[in-house]
Symmetry: C4
Subunit: 200 residues, 4 copies
């Protein structure tokens, strides 16, 4: 037998999404700043607030979208489980580039930090696309009752992902801070409408 | 279709509440204090104990209250899911201002730390109120069997939240330590009776 | 209505137990030891291994026991939920005294560290006892089908807890290292037979 | 009564697997490297990327395999629960040797780090084997409907585990970096086919 239910997939994924999102808070640190300068230090943390909000919203919306995709699947096979594992490995990695952006934005290292951050997002978009296309192509793992129109709607929502994050990656060469703000705007305005409900 | 079940909402929220509460323990640190002074150092950590208990009780009670509210909803729409995500983003942020209070109470930085802490609580109260009001207004997302009286009881329990945390924020200008103690008393005595069971 | 189902209790508790147990790994650190001395440093970490195993087994067994107790309850009321929250607050605190033992055993600070550790265990035993007795007294929250003999068996298993951890606390005054070893032996040999299955 | 359902086992295990995998990200750190050298520092982190991917894939696949094994069991007894707890204790320990490999590969300490890492894997394989054999021997805890052929298939998949990780441990004496690469290859190519689906 080559396929199995999707329960294992969900159990595996839910925990990783929630923990990765919550570990993002470890990006915040004021080091050992003196008490008298704590107020200034908290304002200077704005790259950390920006990076945190961007990553939290992105992970949260991808999680809800992931739930929706899995709910359309009737079974999972070995390949899907393995690609899903690689997707989660990238999601769980997010707190690290997020911390890089928090620590290095507006310093000499901002370009390296933002390239690492948007590069991670781009790789994630590639793997996430592959994950969905593997399941959807020829309705390989799609449950029986699901109408074709719904599958096409999800696929359409996936289509711009790689391009969008590829653009944030390229923008980072010109202006790292613009790249992060663009990524935030995508998470706050574009992703919710595109991914939260994939309507036909 | 614009609405969906509340399962995704719950799965998303449970993990974040539990992890945020448990990460609060990272507020505790004795640094590299010499062994012979560890006993003194542990007593001097009292701001950390106070901040930990306050945040843990607050998150715990909000979590149980959140469960109760969701149990009254029959469906979730795009807006509710997004506001819920913002609420969780604030809850997951809590370990940072908690650590600030733990590290800076009774130092020069205590006012900045406690303003960050109570400011976070106030913003959370605003978002949490908006979340509930969006679902409850005109019974937008309320399940069919739920009596109006129960909705009104929950709304009444939400009413004082913003004012209460706004007061702790204002008190921090006069006395940061009084503000934290007040926040603790709210978590230990007021919240359980107001929020744990929202009786009609 | 004063009571509710036990689902909220379980959801709240499961996450905290699992995360607190897994965060114990943060007790391990070799600091910035030079590579050539890493092998020696890893052997000198034995207090950390001992503290980790003791805390992990203790939390794990208490978790399974907690599950068993909740399965005997038919409902939860406001008081039980609040006592449960305090119990979880203590469980989630465990990584800190565990790290103290890992860092300070066999140094000047070992007595303070082990008193903090066994003191936390003792307070947890008191709260855990109160939690169960509140539910069991007069079968206040016990489900209908559960035989009295099973309740008595659980109560019997709870009886020695406070005394046992009180003894480890007192032993720490004479010998901190003996106290930790005793706590480990309790977790490895006594707890599993006493608490894992509470037979009539 | 000596046996119980497997629900407690699953609830206990799921959380620990997910959290241990996600805490692996704490292996990454660039310390306080100057911004101008961040790009170089990120490339020099390759031992951390390698260790992270190896541990994440290994934990992920073991988790899915664990789910599959538990799904074949009809009940759990005291011994199984305790061996399972020890297995989880080792899984939750993984972030520490993973960080050692990340920090010390290609330094003087690489042999000690990789021996700690592959030693942990070997001990885990021993405990995991014991866990399964205890449940499977004489169908002690196997559910009634499960065909003998399926049990034998799982046992066959378990057979090479200890030898395989024992080899990675021995290779570490000759070449630590080869040992880690071998462990990665096992996680990426061997484990998925051997453990993800245990076909008859």
């Amino acid at each position: 037998m080559e396929t199995a239910g999707t329960g294992r997939l969900e159990a595996f994924s839910d925990g990783v999404f929630a923990i990765a999102a919550t570990l993002l808070v470890l990006s915040f640190s004021v080091g050992t700043v003196a008490g008298s300068q704590l107020d200034t230090a908290l304002f200077h943390l704005w790259p950390a607030y920006l990076a945190y909000a961007t990553s939290f919203l992105t992970i949260g919306i991808i999680w809800m979208n992931h739930h929706h995709c899995v709910s359309l699947m009737g079974s999972a096979d070995r390949t899907l489980l393995f690609v899903n594992l690689i997707l989660l490995m990238i999601v769980a990695f997010f707190p690290f580039p997020t911390k890089l952006v928090a620590d290095y934005l507006r310093t000499d290292g901002e370009q390296a930090a933002v390239l690492a951050y948007t590069g991670t997002l781009t790789v994630m978009a590639v793997v996430y696309n592959a994950w969905w296309r593997y399941a959807a192509t020829g309705r390989r793992l799609i449950a029986e009752g699901v109408p074709d129109a719904e599958i096409r709607a999800v696929t359409r929502a996936f289509n711009p992902g790689i391009v969008i994050y590829g653009v944030t990656f390229l923008v980072a060469f010109a202006s790292p801070v613009a790249s992060v703000i663009l990524t935030f705007l995508i998470a706050a305005f574009y992703l919710p409408s595109a991914a939260l409900f994939n309507r036909a």
